[in-house]
């Protein structure tokens, strides 16, 4: 079975630009969560979606937004990129149980 997939793997953007990151959950999983991991730290929760509805949001500015599609895939959008947005962005899916299954992440570099 395919695991969680994310695209792209790496991305380089310039300050002020906008970026869209994509995630496909494990088949049958209806919940998708997004996390930001800055170098040297643990992941920080950004969003969780379940059945296309936002269930929770972390302490991130409104520049961060997300959505979930009918096939349960998800996109994370970040506007007006700042240098501090450089991080590994992780997507995790869950069947709405306790365990979350993480994808390989998208490495975003903002210059």
């Amino acid at each position: 079975d395919a695991g969680v997939t994310q695209s792209p793997t790496h991305l380089i953007k310039t300050r002020g630009q906008q970026v869209t990151l994509r995630c496909s959950p494990i088949s049958g999983h209806k919940s998708v969560s997004w996390y930001q991991q800055v170098l040297g730290q643990g992941p920080q929760f950004i969003f969780q979606y379940y059945e296309k509805e936002e269930r929770g949001r972390g302490n991130f500015p409104d520049r961060f937004s997300a959505r979930q599609f009918p096939n349960y895939s998800s996109e994370l959008n970040v506007n007006a990129l700042l240098l501090g947005d450089s991080a590994l962005y992780l997507c995790a899916s869950s069947p709405w149980g306790d365990e979350q299954y993480f994808g390989p992440g998208t490495r975003l570099t903002v210059t």
């Binding site: 919940s31 996390y35 643990g42 992941p43 920080q44 269930r55 929770g56 993480f102 490495r107």
Partner: protein, 112 residues
């Protein structure tokens, strides 16, 4: 913000030795999970222990949970070079939805 703090921040051992990592957290939890991360890539789920459990085993892994002290430990027995990675504890907090709050991680280096 980070809920958990792992201790030590870094650990260096020889193959065959045991590795113990500790995690402390601040609020009440539904469960606590341990993850492994290789070279800054995706997280691999290792083990989950619920708030009403005190100890759990999975292969070479042993996890304990002390809710009165708000702490957990992960023991890896007979370490191998392939165990070299960063290890994170994550607490599932009761916020009405399933949200994981991660600690700062322990970097484990197992030398042959």
């Amino acid at each position: 913000s980070q809920q958990g703090e792992e201790d030590p921040q870094a650990l260096s051992i020889q193959e065959g030795e045991n590795a113990t990592m500790n995690c402390s957290y601040k609020t009440s939890i539904n469960n606590l999970q341990w993850y492994r991360q290789n070279s800054g890539r995706g997280l691999v789920h290792l083990i989950l222990i619920r708030s009403n459990e005190r100890e759990k085993h999975s292969g070479r892994l042993r996890v304990t949970l002390d809710t009165s002290k708000k702490s957990s430990s992960l023991l890896i027995t007979a370490s191998r070079a392939a165990d070299t990675a960063s290890y994170f504890c994550a607490t599932a907090v009761n916020t009405g939805f399933q949200k994981l709050v991660f600690g700062t991680g322990t970097r484990l280096l197992v030398s042959p």
